[in-house]
């Protein structure tokens, strides 16, 4: 590996192992899907609580922010004595990183619904929860999808680090290559992870455009709306970072 003459990637090694690539792909996808699904469920719950009881928002964002700021390796270090290795600590860490971005986006989306519309719905006799479900959330969809997009792409990158607790997806090859000082699987594993992330990114962008072409202007202002009231929020961690997987 030290010789300049040696190529970085041994493609024949890769082509002998397509079945491994396939099984890693499946693992990578399932780890991502589970994390985003659970994260979405939790974030949605928190968002609904936060829009109903405004004062909780700061606390919830603060909590998610703390989870977000803690590096995965540190989180694993804290979880392993409790959960051992495997799917559980992997998913806890992965879900933890989706919460902040999903929570903020869902709330921003709901907040972005023009008050006039909400009043109209109330005026038409919608009960609060029905209104949220049938009016607010659908109109918040663009922001929600934007959040899902970022959460998914970020999670895909993070899945690789779960190799440290026995999972990994494409991270399996990164770990293998690192332990043997063998670049090929590291390069290929990284490329595959990036490719998957970009593919999902494209799909989500397409989804965003598909769903709401007419609200592109409104989306901009709702996505960018100031979602914090006058009081500055507590540990309000900034969202959306490239793979804060450290």
């Amino acid at each position: 590996m030290l010789l300049a003459a040696e190529p970085l990637v041994d493609w024949s090694w890769v082509s002998d192992r397509y079945d491994e690539v396939w099984s890693m792909t499946k693992e990578h996808l399932s780890l991502t899907a589970v994390a985003v699904a659970i994260g979405f469920g939790l974030a949605m719950t928190m968002a609904l609580v936060a829009t109903r009881w405004r004062w909780t928002y700061g606390l919830l964002v603060g909590f998610c922010g703390i989870l977000y700021a803690i590096p995965s390796v540190a989180l694993f270090g804290i979880l392993i004595p409790i959960t051992g290795l495997g799917m559980v600590p992997a998913e806890i860490a992965l879900v933890g990183y989706t919460l902040l971005i999903l929570l903020r986006n869902i709330v921003a989306g709901i907040d972005g619904v023009p008050p006039a519309v909400k009043e109209a719905a109330d005026g038409m006799g919608f009960e609060r929860w029905r209104r949220v479900l049938r009016v607010d959330l659908p109109l918040a969809l663009p922001a929600i999808i934007a959040g899902l997009r970022i959460a998914t792409v970020t999670t895909i990158g993070l899945v690789t680090i779960t190799a440290l607790v026995g999972m990994g997806g494409y991270g399996d090859w990164i770990k293998y290559g690192l332990s043997l000082s063998f670049p090929t699987p590291v390069v290929v594993g990284t490329i595959l992870s990036v490719a998957m992330a970009l593919a999902f990114d494209v799909v989500f962008v397409g989804l965003e455009r598909l769903m709401t072409p007419w609200t592109r202007a409104a989306r901009r202002s709702s996505g960018l709306a100031d979602d914090e009231p006058a009081a500055a929020p507590p540990a309000s961690v900034p969202s959306a970072v490239g793979a804060i997987s450290g």
């Binding site: 590996m1 030290l2 700021a69 803690i70 590096p71 995965s72 390796v73 540190a74 989180l75 694993f76 270090g77 804290i78 392993i80 004595p81 409790i82 971005i101 903020r104 934007a146 970022i150 792409v153 970020t154 895909i156 990158g157 993070l158 690789t160 440290l164 991270g171 990164i174 690192l178 000082s181 590291v186 990284t190 992870s193 990036v194 992330a197 970009l198 990114d201 989306r219 901009r220 202002s221 996505g223 960018l224 709306a225 100031d226 979602d227 006058a230 009081a231 500055a232 540990a235 309000s236 961690v237 900034p238 969202s239 959306a240 970072v241 490239g242 793979a243 804060i244 997987s245 450290g246």
Partner: protein
């Protein structure tokens, strides 16, 4: 868990935890040194071009792509990948490969936020300054950057936390830092050191974030208590990254 918890207390009570090259202070210092250096370099590399491009209102596509790519790239892979190159070019293990990986990862948030911040300075302010006779350089320095400061600081904050986190991964390529006891703890029975280091890293990351939050308040007193400006796009700094302005 009870075991690990008591292991941790015995570890913290031991001499090894506090002295010598494997002691927590040494490891923490190593972590901080690396993180700080990487952030400084990334800022130096990313800020000027981003500010200039923002001022010129060009290269928006770059800003968007850079952050998208940054998000899509697995840090674990980058750190592992840098190693063979580092060895090939004689930079060895440990500090330099980790440093390079960290700088690469820290650039996107700083770049994009600075770009967007400078670019989105209200045109009125820019016009007014030009009306007062300011040239490009002065305009940038005295008007655009200060107005963009909230976003720039947010970008720095995001990068800072990211860098602190990734410095932990340096242990994978031979950099002795707080990540080292965590990673070796996976293989050991006594997880005391692992737990202690993990909690310490978590606290450090939170402290970093908090430090920048405070810094934001201090450096931008006029934005304290974010006032909602109804119709226009008040960019909550974070949001820039999640809905990058389409050029």
């Amino acid at each position: 868990m009870g075991d690990a918890w008591s292991d941790m207390w015995s570890y913290l009570g031991s001499d090894a935890a506090w002295h010598g090259r494997n002691g927590l202070p040494e490891l923490t210092l190593a972590q901080l040194k690396l993180a700080f250096a990487a952030l400084a370099v990334a800022a130096l590399v990313a800020l000027p071009p981003a500010a200039i491009l923002g001022h010129l209102r060009r290269g928006g596509f770059l800003a968007v792509s850079i952050v998208n790519l940054g998000r899509a790239v697995p840090t674990y892979g980058i750190v592992a990948l840098i190693l063979p190159f580092s060895l090939r070019w004689g930079f060895g293990l440990g500090f330099w490969p980790t440093m390079v990986a960290l700088v690469l990862l820290a650039i996107p948030p700083i770049f994009t936020n600075t770009y967007t911040g400078v670019r989105d300075v209200p045109p009125d302010a820019v016009e007014a300054a030009k009306g007062m006779g300011m040239q490009a350089g002065e305009l940038l320095r005295r008007v655009e950057v200060p107005v963009a400061l909230p976003l720039i600081l947010t970008g720095l904050r995001v990068s800072a936390v990211q860098v602190m986190a990734t410095a932990t991964l340096g242990a994978l390529v031979g950099y002795r830092c707080l990540g080292s006891p965590i990673l070796s703890g996976i293989q050991k029975q006594d997880k005391g050191a692992m737990l202690a280091a993990a909690i310490l890293v978590a606290l450090l990351s939170l402290a970093t974030d908090g430090l920048f939050a405070v810094g934001q308040r201090v450096l931008i007193p006029w934005r304290r208590g974010q006032v909602k400006r109804s119709e226009d796009v008040t960019v909550t700094p974070a949001e820039t990254l999640q809905a990058p302005a389409v050029p």
